[in-house]
Structure formats: structure tokens, C-alpha cells
């Protein structure tokens, strides 16, 4: 078991543990912090897969910007205490069972798939570097890239219109 596999298992366990703690934390601030842990673990997976550009973008955009936005909203609403007064135990059990059933179905369906010799190459390859991705992004995908700027503009206008106090 070499260092890459050790890191893979460590990051996988960290991600799943963090995800479970996001769901079961009573305090929304703790949920946000555990979600940051999950995103950092996923960024570590990207680095292991040699997708360095996506790892950095994931850290900056998700763990940096989006999570700070979530944290601002949680603290703005003063939700630091447990704010779910209505507790329906059967509803929770049904939700967990539904998620578990989905997991069971997907694992059972994918377990038999013949993927034994399909490897996700690690520690090798340079397609994740910003040079190669940028060349592709600005040659083949320049139209979607520009359209996404229109999307951001419309999202910004939408946020201002929704958030305006009238």
C-alpha cells in the first residue's frame, strides 16, 4: 500500500465522515464547517487525480466563496442554536431509509459492472494543468464561456431584485 493509496483512503473516509456530520449536526454553523472539510477532501482527491486547476478552483470557489456566503446567511439569520422545533422521528427514519435504499440499489447495480481493468490514472498526466485546460477552454469552448458571463450577469440582477427590500 503506497502513499497514494493511503492518501486516497484517508481522503475518502474524511469526505464521507464530513458528509455524514453535515447531515447530523444540530448547529447549522457546524454543518457549514463540516461541508468545508468535505470540499477540502474532494480538492485533495482532485490533486491525487492530477486535476490541479480544478482543485484550486474548487478550493477558491466552493470552500472560499460559497461557504463564506452560507456562513454569512446562517449568522445573519441568527440560527446558531438548534432551530428545528418540529421533530418527526418517523420522517427522519424514512429519509435515512430512502437514502440507504438508493445506496443499496446503486451499489448492487454497479457492483457487477465489468470495470476491473479501467483505471483512474493517478500521479500521471498533464491534462489538468491550466495550460492545457485554458487552450481547450478558449479555443473549443469560447462560446459557452462567454454565455456563462451572461448567466452571471443575470444571476446578479436576479439576486438584487430578489433581495431588494420593498
Amino acid at each position: 500500500m503506497n502513499i497514494t493509496q493511503v492518501l486516497f483512503w484517508f481522503l475518502s473516509i474524511l469526505a464521507i465522515l464530513g458528509a455524514i456530520l453535515v447531515v447530523i449536526s444540530k448547529n447549522p454553523v457546524h454543518s457549514v464547517l463540516w461541508l468545508i472539510v468535505v470540499f477540502v477532501a474532494i480538492s485533495g482527491h482532485y490533486i491525487l487525480l492530477d486535476a490541479q486547476f480544478l482543485a484550486i478552483v474548487n478550493l477558491i470557489v466552493y470552500a472560499g466563496a460559497i461557504m463564506v456566503l452560507f456562513l454569512f446567511v446562517v449568522m445573519l439569520m441568527n440560527l446558531n442554536t438548534d432551530s428545528e422545533p418540529q421533530k418527526n422521528r418517523w420522517l427522519k427514519i424514512a429519509g435515512v431509509m430512502t437514502g440507504g435504499a438508493l445506496l443499496l440499489v446503486l451499489v448492487a447495480a454497479l457492483k457487477r459492472a465489468d470495470l476491473k481493468n479501467q483505471l483512474a490514472e493517478m500521479n500521471n498526466g498533464d491534462i489538468g494543468l491550466i495550460h492545457n485546460l485554458g487552450m481547450s477552454l478558449f479555443h473549443d469552448y469560447v462560446i459557452p464561456f462567454e454565455i456563462s458571463s451572461v448567466l452571471f450577469l443575470s444571476a446578479m440582477v436576479g439576486v438584487v431584485v430578489i433581495g431588494k427590500k420593498d
Binding site: 461541508l35 487525480l49 456566503l69 428545528e84 429519509g95 430512502t98 483512474a120 430578489i162
Partner: protein
């Protein structure tokens, strides 16, 4: 690392997100679980891009780049989606002083 491990890791993260959406009643936590599901899918796409690179890396130097560009665009759209969604939640809280989705099932109240 065989692709199976990444598939099962992504499936596990996705199912934790689904269980969170179904279990919790706090709108912000539900939104965070949706983000978790998006990231599980992103992770699987990156793993598949490296699988394609492994399968035909010598024949095609561009193999796997499309998937990573796709992940980049998913992140772009997710950022826009989060901003609009959080604005809606803030407006909801301002109108009803609650973000419990059980109170908000009538839309007009």
C-alpha cells in the same frame, strides 16, 4: 486506483446528500446537501476523465480534457445558483421569520 472505488465513493457521498435533503427541515441545510450532491458528481466526472486519459492517452492527447472543462462549467453554474438560492432563502426568512420548510409548503400564506 480502479475506477470502482471512485464510483462507490461518489455514490456514497450522493446518497448521504439525498438522505440529508429528505431528513432535514432547515432550508439552508437542504441547500448544502444539494451542493454536496453536485460535488459528488463532479468528483466522479474528474475520475472518469482520468479513466479516459488512461484508456486512450497515447492516441489522443486531448482525451479527458472535455470532462474537466465540463466540471469547470458545473462549478460556474453552481456559483450562480447558490447566490440566487441564498437570496431566495433570505427573502423567505424576511417574510416568514422561519426557514423551516414545513411552514413553507403552501407558497401563499
Amino acid at each position: 486506483m480502479p475506477i470502482n472505488y471512485y464510483i462507490f465513493l461518489s455514490v456514497a457521498l450522493f446518497c448521504v446528500g439525498v438522505a440529508g435533503v429528505l431528513t432535514r427541515r432547515n432550508a439552508i441545510i437542504i441547500f448544502m446537501c444539494v451542493e454536496l450532491m453536485l460535488n459528488a458528481v463532479n468528483l466522479l466526472l474528474v475520475a472518469f476523465s482520468k479513466m479516459q486519459w488512461h484508456a486512450l492517452g497515447a492516441a489522443d492527447p486531448q482525451a479527458g480534457i472535455n470532462a474537466q472543462i465540463f466540471v469547470f462549467f458545473i462549478m460556474v453554474v453552481a456559483a450562480a445558483e447558490v447566490s440566487v438560492g441564498l437570496a431566495i432563502i433570505v427573502m423567505m426568512y424576511r417574510n416568514t421569520h422561519s426557514i423551516d420548510v414545513n411552514f413553507l409548503n403552501r407558497l401563499k400564506h
